[in-house]
């Protein structure tokens, strides 16, 4: 099941009615959410329901074990290790085993050995990267006594299987959700209105922006780049940046919206990343829940540890982002993408330190940093880096990556992608770009004021406006939409 496809309109009304029939009754509401979540999971792949059930029961038991007062430290540590090994082991088995064996075979062949380990093709359980990281956070937090133990298996299982975030996050920490579901929930107008609004916005980003850009601009060019000119190569990469933003930010907003319809507030996952003026800022705005997870549970403990790693901030960036790349998928292209982002953060950190020395020498550098020119150059560099690094993210084969980069400067192709072929498609492209610009302008003072005015407008005016948006979507967005790019990670 997917939250942007037609099945949601069969599933959601039933869920909402059942759920709110028991308003304020925790057991009933969590029971409905759990059964609904498992049903949602089951419809993805009936044979893999056990993955989420087994992982839930194990981590619940481990949490109880670790959290029990008076338990010897060595036992607690062993239990934490068991959780980490099980969760990461499960993730590696399902997600990376084929890649590991394939890479091993390639390495052996390169070294002159005739080894051919069988490459297993295993179905990837839905959202495994997301719920695994959530559960790991739980075990770690309980171990360090930062979060209380979840005493109720029902509450714990409801958190893990909360269906809006099952496909592609956000990665929800235990303390972000469990306290909300430990009590009965009552509907509020604010949650419903905010939920519907977030869902609609997310749907536009996913079903209109991302699903148009993919087949009409990005996919045709990326699949046969030599047919297209250098300018089209650039267009496809920029288009891909917008596509995955629409896809993933759209999904996150839809998940947040659905969460609110059930009275549950999920964490923000995107915060206008295209406004970032540095890569550090970018990573505070893009896939926020993954990056805070990596910094809280990997980068922080690594660089603040007492051992060799202590203070090795640059190496920490490289390792964490290489793993971030690997989290996205089992391919060298993802790894390269991660390392490139790690390099950017290292360069930025070094530049920041160097700039501080300049400022200490001469205060004019402080003023320069506050100029619009500096801000624009910083923005252009950060965004360009993000866009260019998407090439290995999208094209995993190293040879093809090199070919694509070359094509960005020299290409004899002259084909035109479907999105630029006719006036009708050009109109869509223009509307999409306009929508994205307006969406980001809401973050400016004027845009924020205008959005505030709309929010404060009489209800009938807002209703008609939303109705017209829906009519537009009905006319131009097909009933069957594409899958989420980030559901594959």
């Amino acid at each position: 099941m997917s939250i942007h496809q037609v099945e949601l309109w069969f599933f959601l009304p039933v869920m909402l009615v059942l759920y709110w029939l028991g308003a304020g009754r925790r057991l009933w509401q969590n029971g409905v959410l759990l059964v609904g979540g498992w049903l949602f999971y089951w419809t993805w792949n009936p044979t893999l329901l056990w993955v989420i059930v087994a992982a839930t029961v194990l981590d619940y038991a481990i949490g109880r074990f670790i959290g029990t007062e008076g338990r010897p430290e060595s036992h607690r540590k062993a239990a934490l290790a068991l959780s980490v090994i099980y969760n990461l082991g499960q993730l590696c088995w399902f997600k990376y085993i084929g890649w590991f064996t394939g890479s091993f075979n390639d390495l052996m062949t390169a070294l002159g050995f005739e080894v051919s380990a069988p490459i297993l093709k295993i179905a990837l359980p839905l959202g495994i990267s997301y719920f695994t990281f959530g559960k790991l956070a739980y075990a770690i937090e309980v171990y360090y006594r930062r979060s209380p133990v979840c005493e109720s298996l029902l509450n714990f299982a409801t958190w893990v299987a909360f269906f809006p975030q099952l496909v592609a996050g956000p990665i929800v920490r235990p303390r972000q959700m469990i306290p909300q579901i430990e009590v009965g929930r009552r509907p509020t107008a604010k949650m419903f209105a905010g939920g519907a609004q977030a869902f609609l916005l997310g749907f536009i980003l996913k079903a209109y922006v991302a699903d148009w850009l993919g087949p009409n601009i990005v996919d045709p060019i990326m699949s046969a780049p030599t047919d297209y000119s250098a300018a089209m190569h650039w267009l496809a990469v920029v288009g891909y940046g917008l596509q995955i933003f629409g896809d993933f930010a759209g999904y996150s907003l839809m998940a947040i919206g659905l969460g609110r319809l059930f009275g549950v507030e999920l964490p923000e996952n995107f915060n206008f990343p295209f406004l970032s003026k540095s890569m550090m800022e970018f990573w505070r705005r893009w896939h926020i829940t993954l990056n805070t997870w990596l910094f809280d549970y990997l980068y922080g403990p690594l660089t603040l540890s007492r051992g060799w790693w202590r203070g090795r901030l640059d190496l920490g960036f490289l390792v964490v982002f290489a793993l971030c790349g690997l989290w996205h998928g089992a391919a060298w292209g993802f790894m390269l993408w991660g390392v490139l982002h790690g390099v950017a953060l290292v360069v930025e950190r070094r530049w920041g330190e160097y700039y501080k020395t300049l400022c200490r020498k001469d205060r004019v550098w402080v003023k320069r940093r506050k100029t619009r020119v500096y801000a624009f150059v910083a923005w252009a560099l950060a965004q360009s880096w993000f866009i260019v690094t998407l090439i290995p993210f999208r094209i995993h084969d190293v040879g093809n990556i090199a070919g694509y980069v070359q094509g960005m400067f020299v290409s004899a192709g002259s084909a035109v992608p479907p999105g630029l072929e006719s006036l009708r498609e050009l109109q869509h492209f223009a509307v999409i770009l306009l929508f994205l610009v307006v969406y980001h302008l809401t973050q400016t003072r004027l845009g924020g004021w205008a959005w505030g005015r709309f929010q404060a407008a009489p209800a009938p005016i807002r209703g008609v406006a939303y109705g017209l948006v829906l009519v537009y979507l009905f006319i131009y967005v097909p009933l069957s939409a594409g899958t989420f790019v980030y559901a594959n990670f």
């Binding site: 419809t43 107008a189 905010g194 009708r424 209703g463 009519v471 131009y476 967005v477």
Partner: protein
Amino acid sequence: MAQANQSTSNWGSVAVVAVCALVTVVAADFALARLSPVPTAIMEVDDGIRMLRDHDPDTLILGSSHTRSFLPMRDLIRERTSGDNEVVLVPVEWGLFTSYKWVLDNRVAPLVDEVRNGQKVRPSIKRALIITTFYDACDVQHIGNVNLPARAWEAQHFGDDLAHKGLTEFNRNYLQTRWKSAFSGSVLIQNRGHERVGDALREVVRPVSDERKAEVRAENVKWAKRNMEKQWDICWHPPEIAALEQILDFFLTRDIEPTIILFPLLPDITSEKSKATTLLRYEKYAAELGKRRGVRVVDMTYGAPLVGADFQDDFDHLTREANPRFAAWALENHLQFLLEPPSPGGAP
């Protein structure tokens, strides 16, 4: 941005916003339906099965979407035989032989073989027409248009598939069809994303000239011609050919006399090349099959008195006006036997 303003969020205002949005959508739906009417419902497998459930016909017509053209023929046969001969038709939209076989096994067979109190409920079926074009032998991997969940599945088929494979792009079509059928009067739901409404709006703002329309039609004819020539490579798929043989087995083992009918094609889209390749191969195969299995084959590919205007814009199906003319012509020529009582023994 996604967080609603607190001051404007009380149940009253939420309800007003929701109602106004709904009214806007419904009003737009009505207005747009004038520009771009809701597509006329076409006869589907379910309609055919309902017809079969309610009757004990002597002739069953099964096959491609062209089967729908036989609906006026059904009325003519009734009229000319004073109701003695009863015909039921089961058209499968966007199907191939494997699709017709699936419909035969899963939807038609339970009714054909239905027994009540030791007696067959429908003992009269003695004739079957299989309506086909060369397209029915295409490789599904290359055409990707077969959509049984939308066209022929019942809830139990969806449930079985869901339990085995989960929700897939394929079985999701069943849900989409159910969703659309729940809003059969809404042009926004029926035409969602197809751009028909968008095109109709554009036509109001900037009408397309007749010259341009003629140009577009000429381009499409050219494309269709080329496509038919290319289908030489993909429209000879062994599993589809095998399915046709199995369909014949189904009827012959039940003493039902099958007739294979090659439906007329729009003359404009057949080229000398396709006539000598794609189409010829299929005609020869049908003739050979008829001889080998002792089955009547009626080849109407070229002979029917139909012109370009008798075909719809898809260059494939006959218009509503052309169907009765085609029916009358066919009953006076190749299909005269449908006016006679079926032979008691069924298959020769």
